[in-house]
Symmetry: C2
Subunit: 168 residues, 2 copies
Protein backbone atom coordinates (compact mmCIF):
# COMPACT_ATOMS: atom_id res chain seq x y z
CA UNK A 1 0.00 0.00 0.00
CA UNK A 2 3.03 2.30 0.32
CA UNK A 3 3.32 3.16 -3.33
CA UNK A 4 -0.38 3.93 -4.05
CA UNK A 5 -0.80 5.98 -0.89
CA UNK A 6 2.30 8.08 -1.49
CA UNK A 7 1.23 8.48 -5.12
CA UNK A 8 -2.09 9.88 -3.85
CA UNK A 9 -0.24 12.31 -1.56
CA UNK A 10 1.68 13.48 -4.62
CA UNK A 11 -1.62 14.02 -6.43
CA UNK A 12 -2.75 16.18 -3.51
CA UNK A 13 0.35 18.32 -3.96
CA UNK A 14 -0.32 18.64 -7.68
CA UNK A 15 -3.84 19.84 -6.92
CA UNK A 16 -2.28 22.72 -4.98
CA UNK A 17 -0.88 24.07 -8.24
CA UNK A 18 -4.43 24.71 -9.48
CA UNK A 19 -5.29 26.51 -6.26
CA UNK A 20 -2.27 28.76 -6.73
CA UNK A 21 -3.61 29.71 -10.16
CA UNK A 22 -6.94 30.64 -8.55
CA UNK A 23 -5.18 32.62 -5.83
CA UNK A 24 -3.34 34.64 -8.46
CA UNK A 25 -6.55 35.25 -10.42
CA UNK A 26 -8.40 36.35 -7.27
CA UNK A 27 -5.63 38.73 -6.23
CA UNK A 28 -5.46 40.21 -9.73
CA UNK A 29 -9.25 40.63 -9.95
CA UNK A 30 -9.40 42.34 -6.56
CA UNK A 31 -6.21 44.32 -7.14
CA UNK A 32 -4.09 43.14 -4.23
CA UNK A 33 -0.69 41.43 -4.04
CA UNK A 34 -1.02 37.62 -3.97
CA UNK A 35 1.68 37.67 -1.30
CA UNK A 36 -1.06 38.68 1.15
CA UNK A 37 -2.63 35.25 0.68
CA UNK A 38 0.71 33.48 0.98
CA UNK A 39 1.22 34.91 4.47
CA UNK A 40 -2.40 34.57 5.61
CA UNK A 41 -3.39 32.40 8.57
CA UNK A 42 -6.63 31.01 9.97
CA UNK A 43 -5.71 32.11 13.50
CA UNK A 44 -2.95 34.39 14.82
CA UNK A 45 -1.17 31.49 16.55
CA UNK A 46 -1.34 29.23 13.52
CA UNK A 47 1.15 28.92 10.67
CA UNK A 48 0.71 30.77 7.38
CA UNK A 49 -0.09 29.47 3.89
CA UNK A 50 3.53 29.12 2.80
CA UNK A 51 4.34 27.02 5.88
CA UNK A 52 1.36 24.74 5.18
CA UNK A 53 2.73 24.07 1.69
CA UNK A 54 6.28 23.52 2.92
CA UNK A 55 5.04 21.08 5.50
CA UNK A 56 2.77 19.12 3.13
CA UNK A 57 5.74 18.86 0.76
CA UNK A 58 8.14 17.71 3.47
CA UNK A 59 5.89 14.94 4.76
CA UNK A 60 5.47 13.64 1.21
CA UNK A 61 9.20 13.89 0.49
CA UNK A 62 10.03 12.21 3.81
CA UNK A 63 7.67 9.32 3.14
CA UNK A 64 9.05 8.69 -0.35
CA UNK A 65 12.60 8.76 0.98
CA UNK A 66 12.49 6.97 4.35
CA UNK A 67 10.14 4.22 3.17
CA UNK A 68 12.38 3.47 0.19
CA UNK A 69 15.57 3.47 2.27
CA UNK A 70 16.85 6.90 1.21
CA UNK A 71 17.78 10.07 3.03
CA UNK A 72 15.40 12.85 1.95
CA UNK A 73 16.90 15.64 -0.17
CA UNK A 74 17.16 18.86 1.81
CA UNK A 75 14.77 21.65 0.75
CA UNK A 76 15.33 24.99 2.49
CA UNK A 77 12.24 26.74 3.82
CA UNK A 78 13.00 30.01 2.10
CA UNK A 79 10.01 30.49 -0.22
CA UNK A 80 8.52 33.98 -0.31
CA UNK A 81 6.93 34.34 -3.76
CA UNK A 82 4.25 32.31 -5.49
CA UNK A 83 6.85 31.26 -8.06
CA UNK A 84 9.05 29.91 -5.30
CA UNK A 85 6.09 28.07 -3.78
CA UNK A 86 5.38 26.47 -7.16
CA UNK A 87 9.04 25.43 -7.44
CA UNK A 88 8.93 23.85 -3.97
CA UNK A 89 5.91 21.77 -4.93
CA UNK A 90 7.44 20.83 -8.26
CA UNK A 91 10.75 19.61 -6.84
CA UNK A 92 8.89 17.60 -4.20
CA UNK A 93 6.66 15.98 -6.82
CA UNK A 94 9.68 15.24 -9.01
CA UNK A 95 11.55 13.58 -6.15
CA UNK A 96 8.58 11.53 -4.94
CA UNK A 97 7.78 10.40 -8.48
CA UNK A 98 11.40 9.33 -8.99
CA UNK A 99 10.83 6.57 -6.41
CA UNK A 100 9.52 3.47 -8.13
CA UNK A 101 7.08 0.97 -6.66
CA UNK A 102 9.74 -1.73 -6.22
CA UNK A 103 11.81 0.57 -4.00
CA UNK A 104 9.13 0.39 -1.30
CA UNK A 105 9.73 -3.35 -0.85
CA UNK A 106 10.37 -3.89 2.84
CA UNK A 107 8.85 -0.54 3.83
CA UNK A 108 6.78 -2.15 6.56
CA UNK A 109 9.98 -3.40 8.25
CA UNK A 110 11.56 0.06 8.24
CA UNK A 111 11.54 2.29 11.28
CA UNK A 112 11.56 6.06 11.05
CA UNK A 113 12.46 8.75 13.57
CA UNK A 114 10.72 12.13 13.56
CA UNK A 115 12.15 15.47 14.63
CA UNK A 116 9.21 15.83 17.03
CA UNK A 117 9.23 12.17 18.16
CA UNK A 118 11.18 12.70 21.41
CA UNK A 119 13.88 10.23 20.34
CA UNK A 120 11.38 7.45 19.67
CA UNK A 121 10.91 5.56 16.41
CA UNK A 122 7.83 4.55 14.46
CA UNK A 123 7.26 1.49 12.29
CA UNK A 124 6.70 1.84 8.55
CA UNK A 125 2.95 1.24 8.47
CA UNK A 126 2.21 3.44 11.47
CA UNK A 127 4.43 6.14 9.98
CA UNK A 128 2.54 5.97 6.69
CA UNK A 129 -0.98 6.05 8.15
CA UNK A 130 -0.68 7.92 11.45
CA UNK A 131 1.90 10.48 10.35
CA UNK A 132 2.28 10.88 6.60
CA UNK A 133 -1.32 10.65 5.40
CA UNK A 134 -2.64 12.64 8.34
CA UNK A 135 0.01 15.34 8.13
CA UNK A 136 -0.09 15.73 4.36
CA UNK A 137 -3.88 16.09 4.38
CA UNK A 138 -3.82 18.34 7.42
CA UNK A 139 -1.46 20.83 5.82
CA UNK A 140 -3.01 20.63 2.35
CA UNK A 141 -6.43 21.18 3.94
CA UNK A 142 -5.24 24.15 5.99
CA UNK A 143 -3.78 25.69 2.81
CA UNK A 144 -7.15 25.18 1.11
CA UNK A 145 -9.01 26.62 4.12
CA UNK A 146 -6.86 29.76 4.13
CA UNK A 147 -7.62 30.41 0.46
CA UNK A 148 -11.31 29.53 0.76
CA UNK A 149 -11.75 31.71 3.84
CA UNK A 150 -10.21 34.61 1.92
CA UNK A 151 -12.59 34.30 -1.00
CA UNK A 152 -10.46 32.42 -3.53
CA UNK A 153 -12.63 30.44 -5.96
CA UNK A 154 -11.63 26.90 -4.99
CA UNK A 155 -14.14 24.14 -4.36
CA UNK A 156 -14.35 20.57 -3.23
CA UNK A 157 -13.63 19.13 -6.69
CA UNK A 158 -10.43 21.18 -6.84
CA UNK A 159 -9.47 19.59 -3.55
CA UNK A 160 -10.15 16.06 -4.78
CA UNK A 161 -8.51 16.47 -8.18
CA UNK A 162 -8.73 13.74 -10.82
CA UNK A 163 -10.96 10.75 -10.00
CA UNK A 164 -10.83 7.59 -12.10
CA UNK A 165 -14.51 7.06 -12.81
CA UNK A 166 -15.37 4.18 -15.13
CA UNK A 167 -18.46 3.33 -17.13
CA UNK A 168 -20.91 1.07 -15.26
Amino acid sequence: MYYPIIRQCVEALKNLETWLDRAEQHAAAKGFDVGVLLTSRLAPDMKDFIYQIQSACDYTKGAAAWLSGQKPPRHEDSEQTIGEVRARIRKTVDFAESVKEAQYAGASERRVSLSWGHGKMIGGEDYLLQVVVQDVYFHVSMAYAILRHNGVDVGKMDFLGPINFVDP
Copy 2:
Protein backbone atom coordinates in the same frame (compact mmCIF):
# COMPACT_ATOMS: atom_id res chain seq x y z
CA MET B 1 -4.65 -1.92 2.73
CA TYR B 2 -8.44 -1.48 3.04
CA TYR B 3 -8.71 -2.45 6.67
CA PRO B 4 -5.81 -0.34 8.04
CA ILE B 5 -6.80 2.74 6.06
CA ILE B 6 -10.44 2.59 7.12
CA ARG B 7 -9.30 1.95 10.70
CA GLN B 8 -7.26 5.16 10.49
CA CYS B 9 -10.29 7.07 9.19
CA VAL B 10 -12.18 5.78 12.23
CA GLU B 11 -9.37 7.07 14.46
CA ALA B 12 -9.78 10.48 12.83
CA LEU B 13 -13.47 10.43 13.76
CA LYS B 14 -12.62 9.48 17.34
CA ASN B 15 -10.24 12.44 17.54
CA LEU B 16 -13.22 14.69 16.77
CA GLU B 17 -14.71 13.72 20.12
CA THR B 18 -11.82 15.43 21.91
CA TRP B 19 -12.31 18.57 19.83
CA LEU B 20 -15.97 18.63 20.83
CA ASP B 21 -14.90 18.62 24.49
CA ARG B 22 -12.64 21.61 23.77
CA ALA B 23 -15.42 23.39 21.91
CA GLU B 24 -17.71 22.98 24.92
CA GLN B 25 -15.01 24.22 27.29
CA HIS B 26 -14.30 27.25 25.11
CA ALA B 27 -17.97 28.17 24.82
CA ALA B 28 -18.45 27.79 28.57
CA ALA B 29 -15.35 29.87 29.37
CA LYS B 30 -16.45 32.64 27.02
CA GLY B 31 -20.09 32.40 27.98
CA PHE B 32 -21.68 31.62 24.62
CA ASP B 33 -23.82 28.75 23.37
CA VAL B 34 -21.68 25.99 21.81
CA GLY B 35 -24.34 25.81 19.11
CA VAL B 36 -22.74 28.92 17.61
CA LEU B 37 -19.64 26.85 16.80
CA LEU B 38 -21.73 23.97 15.43
CA THR B 39 -23.25 26.25 12.79
CA SER B 40 -20.08 28.22 12.04
CA ARG B 41 -18.49 28.25 8.58
CA LEU B 42 -15.17 29.32 7.10
CA ALA B 43 -16.89 31.16 4.25
CA PRO B 44 -20.54 32.11 3.69
CA ASP B 45 -20.86 29.72 0.73
CA MET B 46 -19.28 26.82 2.56
CA LYS B 47 -20.97 24.21 4.75
CA ASP B 48 -21.11 24.50 8.53
CA PHE B 49 -19.40 22.46 11.25
CA ILE B 50 -22.25 19.97 11.68
CA TYR B 51 -22.26 19.22 7.95
CA GLN B 52 -18.50 18.63 7.98
CA ILE B 53 -18.96 16.01 10.72
CA GLN B 54 -21.90 14.37 8.98
CA SER B 55 -19.92 14.14 5.77
CA ALA B 56 -16.74 12.75 7.39
CA CYS B 57 -18.93 10.16 9.09
CA ASP B 58 -20.74 9.20 5.90
CA TYR B 59 -17.58 8.69 3.85
CA THR B 60 -16.19 6.44 6.57
CA LYS B 61 -19.46 4.52 6.92
CA GLY B 62 -19.73 4.17 3.14
CA ALA B 63 -16.21 2.82 2.82
CA ALA B 64 -16.69 0.24 5.58
CA ALA B 65 -19.96 -0.88 4.00
CA TRP B 66 -19.37 -0.84 0.24
CA LEU B 67 -15.87 -2.30 0.43
CA SER B 68 -17.10 -5.19 2.58
CA GLY B 69 -20.09 -5.88 0.32
CA GLN B 70 -22.75 -4.31 2.53
CA LYS B 71 -25.31 -1.57 2.09
CA PRO B 72 -24.48 1.30 4.47
CA PRO B 73 -26.92 1.84 7.35
CA ARG B 74 -28.92 5.02 6.86
CA HIS B 75 -28.10 7.90 9.22
CA GLU B 76 -30.41 10.90 8.96
CA ASP B 77 -28.73 14.32 8.80
CA SER B 78 -30.81 15.76 11.61
CA GLU B 79 -28.18 16.65 14.25
CA GLN B 80 -28.58 20.02 15.92
CA THR B 81 -27.00 19.67 19.38
CA ILE B 82 -23.49 18.69 20.41
CA GLY B 83 -24.93 15.58 22.02
CA GLU B 84 -26.49 14.58 18.71
CA VAL B 85 -23.19 15.23 16.92
CA ARG B 86 -21.44 12.96 19.41
CA ALA B 87 -24.05 10.27 18.83
CA ARG B 88 -23.59 10.50 15.05
CA ILE B 89 -19.85 9.99 15.42
CA ARG B 90 -20.33 7.15 17.88
CA LYS B 91 -22.78 5.18 15.73
CA THR B 92 -20.48 5.62 12.72
CA VAL B 93 -17.46 4.38 14.68
CA ASP B 94 -19.47 1.43 16.01
CA PHE B 95 -20.61 0.42 12.55
CA ALA B 96 -17.16 0.78 10.94
CA GLU B 97 -15.52 -1.15 13.77
CA SER B 98 -18.06 -3.94 13.38
CA VAL B 99 -16.53 -4.74 9.98
CA LYS B 100 -13.69 -7.21 10.43
CA GLU B 101 -10.53 -7.33 8.34
CA ALA B 102 -11.56 -10.54 6.56
CA GLN B 103 -14.72 -8.87 5.26
CA TYR B 104 -12.61 -6.60 3.04
CA ALA B 105 -11.37 -9.59 1.03
CA GLY B 106 -12.07 -8.81 -2.61
CA ALA B 107 -12.50 -5.08 -1.94
CA SER B 108 -10.23 -4.20 -4.85
CA GLU B 109 -12.58 -6.04 -7.25
CA ARG B 110 -15.62 -4.14 -6.01
CA ARG B 111 -17.04 -1.16 -7.85
CA VAL B 112 -18.87 1.64 -6.11
CA SER B 113 -21.24 4.31 -7.39
CA LEU B 114 -21.37 7.76 -5.82
CA SER B 115 -24.36 10.08 -5.59
CA TRP B 116 -22.26 12.77 -7.28
CA GLY B 117 -20.63 10.40 -9.80
CA HIS B 118 -22.93 11.20 -12.75
CA GLY B 119 -23.95 7.54 -13.08
CA LYS B 120 -20.35 6.34 -13.34
CA MET B 121 -18.66 3.75 -11.09
CA ILE B 122 -15.29 3.70 -9.40
CA GLY B 123 -13.06 0.73 -8.62
CA GLY B 124 -12.33 -0.26 -5.01
CA GLU B 125 -8.77 1.06 -4.77
CA ASP B 126 -9.54 4.36 -6.49
CA TYR B 127 -12.63 4.74 -4.30
CA LEU B 128 -10.54 4.19 -1.17
CA LEU B 129 -7.68 6.56 -2.07
CA GLN B 130 -9.23 9.20 -4.33
CA VAL B 131 -12.59 9.48 -2.59
CA VAL B 132 -12.69 8.07 0.95
CA VAL B 133 -9.33 9.16 2.33
CA GLN B 134 -9.48 12.53 0.63
CA ASP B 135 -13.08 13.23 1.63
CA VAL B 136 -12.75 12.05 5.22
CA TYR B 137 -9.65 14.17 5.77
CA PHE B 138 -11.13 17.13 3.92
CA HIS B 139 -14.22 17.25 6.13
CA VAL B 140 -12.39 16.43 9.37
CA SER B 141 -9.88 19.17 8.54
CA MET B 142 -12.59 21.72 7.77
CA ALA B 143 -14.24 20.90 11.10
CA TYR B 144 -10.88 21.46 12.80
CA ALA B 145 -10.31 24.69 10.88
CA ILE B 146 -13.70 26.08 11.91
CA LEU B 147 -12.96 25.45 15.59
CA ARG B 148 -9.36 26.69 15.37
CA HIS B 149 -10.38 29.84 13.52
CA ASN B 150 -12.91 30.54 16.26
CA GLY B 151 -10.38 30.29 19.06
CA VAL B 152 -11.02 26.76 20.34
CA ASP B 153 -7.91 25.29 21.98
CA VAL B 154 -7.16 22.46 19.56
CA GLY B 155 -3.71 21.82 18.13
CA LYS B 156 -1.91 19.62 15.66
CA MET B 157 -1.44 16.76 18.13
CA ASP B 158 -5.20 16.71 18.75
CA PHE B 159 -5.62 16.36 15.00
CA LEU B 160 -3.17 13.47 14.75
CA GLY B 161 -4.41 11.60 17.82
CA PRO B 162 -2.60 8.51 19.12
CA ILE B 163 0.71 7.64 17.40
CA ASN B 164 2.38 4.29 18.01
CA PHE B 165 5.92 5.38 18.82
CA VAL B 166 8.30 2.63 19.87
CA ASP B 167 11.64 2.68 21.68
CA PRO B 168 14.64 2.88 19.36
